[in-house]
Subunit: 211 residues, 2 copies
């Protein structure tokens, strides 16, 4: 695809557009100007036009945006016009929470198997899953089409698991381990570091103002 020069800041705004457009659709709103969209979403109208121009515009002078069409297009840009098979590694508290959350499946991200290294966890039922032994992960990936691995494991061992996943051809890792994984360029790691988010909150509270 040809979007290599889109900045990460723009990319991180796209899911937000997608969410607001879904809200508008749910309210049966058919079209919206960039000014109105700006009032709802909190970006300037010029920012919105600039952002969307990166992907070809979509707006029509004097008409604004067709909400349904724009929602669909942004979904396509985000890669949401297909389904993803995921596995989850690490069935601790957070892993269980993610497995139990049905919103991901509704968005096309389907957790197909859950692995844990703790013998006490293996074989336990978690929603529709029987937790599998992490030692079986490699065989599972060989035998099944897996697009994304969700890592909910501690820092220690996370790089080793990532190395295995990469070797088996996994191209997307959603990483909750508090470590910056090293992977080849063609593998995407998207990390969620909750502690870093919490420390950002305390920093901003200390400064006493939102930025």
């Amino acid at each position: 695809m040809g979007n290599k020069n889109i900045s990460m800041a723009v990319i991180r705004r796209l899911p937000k557009y997608y969410r607001y457009l879904a809200d508008l659709l749910a309210k049966d709103i058919q079209r919206i100007s960039s000014k109105e969209l700006s009032e709802i979403i909190g970006f300037t109208a010029s920012q919105i036009r600039q952002d969307l121009n990166n992907f070809g515009g979509f707006g029509q002078q004097g008409y604004g945006y067709n909400v349904e069409a724009l929602h669909k297009e942004i979904g396509k840009i985000l890669g949401l016009d297909r389904n993803y098979n995921a596995i989850l590694v690490g069935a601790g508290n957070l892993g269980q929470a993610l497995t139990n959350y049905t919103g991901f499946k509704n968005a096309g991200f389907d957790i197909k198997a859950v692995f844990d290294a703790n013998p006490k966890m293996i074989g336990l039922k978690l929603r529709d899953y029987e937790i599998m032994d992490s030692d079986e992960m490699e065989k599972y990936i060989v035998d099944n089409a897996v697009d994304i691995a969700i890592l909910c494991i501690p820092k220690n061992g996370a790089q080793e698991v990532a190395d295995k996943l990469v070797k088996l051809g996994i191209k997307g890792i959603w990483n909750f381990a508090p470590i910056d994984l090293e992977v080849p360029n063609d593998v995407i790691v998207e990390s969620v570091n909750l502690t870093e988010s919490l420390f950002t909150l305390s920093y901003l509270m200390k400064e006493g103002t939102e930025i």
Copy 2:
């Protein structure tokens, strides 16, 4: 404090510095040059110097950084030289996972009470907590010193809860509800939107390269 003009990008890198410096301390490494730090952390040495200069530098020509002192200073900058009393609202899967994670308490963020609106949840034990009725939240906040509220509730109702929290003087909200909360300027909201993170992953996978 005087750091109002620090960009959000710099701020979001601070917890990462803090984490890497803690790793170095754990390995008993006393000092490090910005070049060495750069190799570990993956930012350029000039970026590191620039970032830290925002807060007064800390490095000494020809010596580099004193790891322990820098770790401590960044901790102070992040507001980690004090403790925070938190309450958690919404004891579903994610709320339970956050409550059960001991790392936050170790970092000075102590969840003191857990609330839920679901009658089936109220009174249940969650770690050391008996889940309290959300209707008691306001009284609890009046009677106890609460710094931070962690919102693990659905989108609907989240703004209403935030409004209550603001009214009661809460200055920090760690928000996991998929909604952009509207709060006065002196209240900080730090949001974690897992679905947006997942959509960023799928976007980057579609583009086939890390940015």
